[in-house]
Symmetry: C2
Subunit: 296 residues, 2 copies
Amino acid sequence: MPARVSIRDVGPRDGLQPEEPIPVADRIALVHALVDAGLTRVEVAAFVSPKAVPAMAGAADVVAGIERRPGVTYAALVPNLRGAEMALEAGVDELTVTISASPTYNRRNVRMEVEESVAVIASVVAAAGAVPVDAVVSCGFGSPYEADLTPADAVALGRRLADGGATHVTYADTTGMATPLRVAELHGALGGAVDGVGLHLHDTRGTALVNAYAALGLGFTRFDTAVGGLGGSPFAHGAGGNLATEELVALLDDLGVATGIDVEALAGVALRVEALVGRPVPSGVAHAGPRTRAAG
Amino acid sequence: MPARVSIRDVGPRDGLQPEEPIPVADRIALVHALVDAGLTRVEVAAFVSPKAVPAMAGAADVVAGIERRPGVTYAALVPNLRGAEMALEAGVDELTVTISASPTYNRRNVRMEVEESVAVIASVVAAAGAVPVDAVVSCGFGSPYEADLTPADAVALGRRLADGGATHVTYADTTGMATPLRVAELHGALGGAVDGVGLHLHDTRGTALVNAYAALGLGFTRFDTAVGGLGGSPFAHGAGGNLATEELVALLDDLGVATGIDVEALAGVALRVEALVGRPVPSGVAHAGPRTRAAG
């Protein structure tokens, strides 16, 4: 197990994106609460079309309203050069861009061929200058469209993006198809070079935590999670939220892996998020607390 | 990883126990559906007071109504000698008895001292004759009442029960306090002798599957699960159901560990259970299917 793990909470972005729109002030307060709980990397907004994603409207206002804490990286998702320019103008610390290892998923998600998305990312990297760019490769562990897509395919794409200037590459289990064996395949495809490589896991099939545990054993140290396990479809029960930040932190605490995050504070934030989204969050630790609470 | 794992579905008992009562015919049909999906061990009923547990009323009728399939073990929970006599009269293949490693939990759950429960189990073992008795030790991975209770304490109690004639011992994570490290502690306390030892995991803190995965790596091959992840409180979202049978089977399928169970058939049973209990089951695989469905 690694001595320390770095977690990026994507709750205010990937988590809130499928929900009914929430006021900018509440989204800012959520970011503050996450940082208060010890998060040092937070994806705070997406500079996307408010028509396409109403919940992400007001991204610049969210960024402008955040009281910055030294040592904290405030990231934003950008879909293209225009979004990157807006995010940079707003003063974010990191850009996240997405591309899919699945050609069909890429077409359906952003209506572009993979090659076109590679070119878009190159333009974002050029515009970003000294601001780091994290390229998130979706369908990193399999595709619902191409049965033969493997982690090796995702790594081949990730290598191109890194060669093209992306500061980090993160492999996303967009549709919850990862398993411990697929995580091991990714590790193999990377030749074991996992330093700086991120994992973005979803719980569609209940495997987010077991995949993270398998990844920890292989040396991965960067994870995307969302407070409360937000991010699933609000219309289907148990439909694929992100790995819950507090569930990963509780596991890491028990394993003696440092995160700098206060799991009890985070569980409190998760419960406050329930009021924001108007329904229970799927995280068990949010409701039951970490085992240390029960044993205390 | 072991080559083969044996799963006992406790859905018709531990799963339905906290729910509103369901007709006997539907409980029988559920048992049949589980066996059709490939389960060869099913806990079908509890011979407890119908006043105390209304959902388990009609236990003898459930057992009588089951069309027995050769090679399948139909088990029932019994709380005491009277229950054992009724279950044996009904013709079950296995008795399960419970006792807690936590003195306080034992008092609150069955209003007995641990020593009294040991004596009750001895009387059940004596009455059972050739019928096997599985002693389930609850709070096997920690107690919400005694902060210093460890897996070693549970194993000490389990050893006494085995010495007293219990055919099998199963360690239960009653309140979801197990973690991969606690599972390793249990393994250590057993001196690595995990053959025939059962694990009964709950998902209160989202750790049921990761604990099972850690246990598989240590050689455990007997698991209690419940179709759909049934067994949590119906009044609180995400409140600690059993490890979902189909989520464990999907993981085992991917790992190449044989179970004899058809995960797609089981996912179908889980969805039919939703209609029985009148609410969504927590299992992700029930809703999204196994990854093989997505990749197909």
